[in-house]
Symmetry: C2
Subunit: 111 residues, 2 copies
DNA sequence: CCCTTACATTATAAAATATGAATATGTAAA
DNA sequence: TTTACATATTCATATTTTATAATGTAAGGG
């Protein structure tokens, strides 16, 4: 506990950094660790689409889908664009574009 | 709703598959979407270590660490091996080895 | 055998998330 | 301007997770 205090300080600093990174990473992971949201993101990875399409895809109620989209919007993960009566959503975070293929390889490969 | 029923059946089948994959993926993501568990996994990615080391790393109580380890064990993500008084943990799931570097690139790169 | 160290488990309280119903807003068309 | 359609928000409640505290077990040393 009291040996090599210089190293201890450096170590604590690194741990703090690690805690910060871990918090960022887990915030990100939590926002995609939800069946509905993940499916929305997978769908958006193929291109922009409207809320109605997502409702069909998830067989979920409008309010529920809208709620998940609101969360993704607040986290800066998706963008919304209104065109007439519809609102079109798209991915706005490169990290999603990065991680979706990784998850696809792990869980969606035919085998 | 009633057009092209053959296509509709195929589509439904694909959606079911997608729901299953999404569940698997989100189960996995949920198990790593926790500050403590993620830090544990990052540490284990560097090699096996004992519970005491993890307690220090997380500055968490023994019981809390043990609980997270229990969860990771149940999910088949880590292995435990007893040697004398200590229990050594290590990663037992390749998907963790795959995803840790991806997360590292996203959240821990110096910049 | 008793004591200490290292770890696990259990019960429970507290906190975070999800779900569902009701309602509101914004747009366009009749 | 009434109506219908598309989407958003709000709020109460249910469910799931996480943290805390207390206790239990396994191993080794004296």
């Amino acid at each position: 506990m009291n040996s090599a205090s210089t190293t201890a300080i450096k170590f604590d600093f690194e741990v703090d950094e690690m805690v910060d990174s871990a918090r960022e990473a887990t915030d990100f992971l939590k926002s995609i660790a939800h069946e509905g949201r993940l499916m929305i993101l997978c769908r958006l990875a193929e291109g922009e689409c409207a809320v109605t399409d997502l409702e069909e895809l998830l067989s979920a109620r409008q309010a529920a889908v809208s709620q998940q989209l609101a969360r993704l919007r607040l986290e800066g993960i998706v963008d919304a664009r209104r065109e007439g009566k519809s609102v079109y959503y798209s991915l706005s975070d490169d990290r999603i574009q990065t991680i979706i293929p990784v998850l696809y390889d792990m869980f969606c490969k035919p085998d």
